[in-house]
């Protein structure tokens, strides 16, 4: 055989082998915050997703294909996240997992939409699912779902007439603050202090003086995890006695770990928590801890359930078709009986918003304690 024929045959065989390998896998890149202000959230999301992927691969993958999930770091920077999503799209992904930061999702989701790639995000800013993008899907409540629940608790649970608001001035915080203030107005609760803080801020002394001086019946805190912990430490330093109310980012496991005893007494609404009195969630908590040696926050649950949602929807349609996957997930309800990895029954609406049960919780002795379970908003 002539040398050039041998070379051509070898090349053809190599290409064939590579193609066969690609056909046996499905590409689900994780584009996430692994450094910067969102590192806590992103690392939890990534670890939850990887745990789900490894479990699924150990059982043979999705429709016989193993999942490959290359990871890229957005550095919590919207510009970098856009470049990373473009890079992920160049790899012909089936879905994109992440990011978590709303500011990043707002600038990169258009790329996934144009490429017709479903994007499973942990972001919570209200307007993300209101932009008419049929390829974006949440793994946790948007602010338009969670804020009414918090507002009801402040009115009915605390009987508050006035409230001070402290929020982080980024897409997540601004969206939450706007939605919260609207909900307060609808319930005739007066906002007596409106304090914005910066992402990555370390010194909260002046901010605590301001919200404390407002003498409100409750203080609503809406910042990212690390800033929440620093705020709580400062609030404890200054002897704040007013009830501190928040969302998952104030009561999460990482916040409790960082704030220490300063987190005790904090109350609020949590859309997702590994301390939920739900058996599959508690089992997930154990598996996660065994694997990573730390307790996940709500972002770990987001990453984990997001992967299982994709698995279930794909098996339902019986093939890897991105457009059909997106279409199928709108209006889809997945129960733990159908897909144990979903942990709790979840429904996605026409916008990609998720609905499921949620929880009212309080931090007691350094642990998040669920006080009551709130039903799905839509039956």
């Amino acid at each position: 055989m002539k040398p050039w024929i041998r070379t051509a045959l070898a090349a053809a065989l190599a290409v064939g082998a590579a193609t066969a390998t690609a056909q046996q896998t499905v590409n689900m890149p994780i584009v996430i915050e692994l450094s910067g202000a969102g590192a806590v959230s992103g690392t939890n999301f990534r670890d939850g997703a990887v745990l789900a992927i490894d479990e699924i691969n150990a059982r043979g993958g999705i429709l016989g294909r193993k999942i490959v999930a290359p990871q890229s770091d957005t550095q919590s920077n919207p510009g970098v996240s856009r470049a990373q999503v473009q890079k992920a799209i160049d790899g012909n992904p089936y879905v994109i997992l992440g990011p978590v930061f709303s500011g990043s999702v707002k600038v990169n989701m258009i790329l996934a939409q144009q490429a017709e790639v479903p994007q499973i995000t942990g972001a919570e800013a209200a307007d993300i699912t209101q932009a008419g993008n049929p390829y974006i899907f949440r793994t946790s409540f948007g602010q338009q779902m969670s804020m009414p629940k918090i507002a009801n608790y402040i009115r009915d649970g605390l009987k508050a007439k006035t409230v001070a608001v402290l929020w982080v001035n980024n897409d997540f915080g601004k969206g939450g603050r706007d939605t919260f203030i609207k909900e307060m107005a609808a319930r005739n609760i007066k906002v007596v202090a409106d304090v914005s803080t910066e992402s990555g801020q370390v010194d909260f002394a002046a901010d605590v003086v301001k919200v404390k001086g407002a003498n409100a019946d409750a203080i609503f805190v809406y910042t990212n995890e690390e800033e929440s912990a620093r705020f709580l430490r400062e609030a404890r330093k200054q002897g704040v006695k007013t009830p501190l109310i928040g969302e998952t980012t104030l009561l999460g496991q990482k916040v409790i770990e960082l704030a220490g005893e300063a987190a005790n007494g904090v109350r609020g609404h949590v859309g997702l928590t590994v301390d939920a009195p739900v058996a599959p969630v508690l089992a997930f908590r154990e598996r996660f801890f065994k694997r990573y040696n730390y307790l996940p926050d709500h972002n770990g649950l987001k990453g984990y359930t997001g992967v299982y949602a994709v698995k279930h929807a794909t098996e339902k349609i019986g093939k890897f078709d991105r457009k059909l996957l997106a279409k199928t997930m709108h209006g889809l309800t997945i129960t733990p009986e159908q897909e144990p990895g979903i942990l709790m029954e979840a429904t996605w609406d026409a916008n990609g918003d998720i609905d499921r049960i949620s929880f009212l919780a309080e931090v007691v002795d350094g642990k998040q304690k669920v006080v009551s379970i709130l039903p799905k908003l839509r039956k």
Binding site: T197, V202, A205, A206, K210, A229
Partner: protein, 292 residues
Amino acid sequence: MADLLQLLVAGLATGGIYALVAIGFVLLWQTSQTINFAQGEFVMLPAFFVLAAMKFGGLSFPLAMLVGLAVSAVVLGLLFKRLVVDPIIRHGVLPLVISTIALAIFFKEGVKEFYAADAQPFPAAWATTNLSLGGAVVSVQSLVIIAAAVAAVAALQYFLAGTRTGRRMQATAQNPALARVLGIPVERMILYTFLINAALVALASFLVSPIYLAKFTNGETLGLVAFVAAIVGGFNQVRGAIVGGLLLGVVDNFVAAYWSAQYRAAIPLFLLIAVILFRPQGLLGRAEERTV
């Protein structure tokens, strides 16, 4: 009134940290014409030395702090001088400035890569209780920071003015050539300055990390504000650095509370511009002329 008192105490506590770091800037400049733009990262790093000693060495917190202090002295004092400053200073101040900027990036990325990218809880060596003073709630934590900063500055002033080694260091700072003629071991005196700077940043790190949490980015703002504090106070006077640090800490808190939290980061820079325009030697500095 209660708010004013609380803000003042919080501002003095923050300012105390700035002052410790700013003193380091001044000392290094005075003795070796070193402007260390990694000074903020020097404050970030000792907290991670302590955490690493606890995590990997299984040491108790007090013991880990001692280890952190010792490692800081070696890495941020001795090795910084021998491996970075000594080989580069002979090529001028600018290459050294660039080298310290590179060092800052190296330290930040190193901590991110080898320890953690997210914030880490750092234990406090004191109780987190409060005192009630004239209707204001003042935290013991803030008072401890102020007391520790004052004690450190007082000890440093005593060392510099009241001991033989301190006076030799001052002589080295004022005129190294003459000091050498007088038989003062100039190189050793400069090394002592680097070790003192390492101790000051380690102290600042241990005081601030329980509140700010330990994170690789902690040095970014701290280093810049301390540098500005040193210039505002007077880059050639230790007491200037103290005044500059305290002033910035207090102004920062009052601006954030009564004007705008958004513009607080710009305030040190406004002060810097004002000082450069109207009193270039700084509030307590003395005018200096150098032959170039």
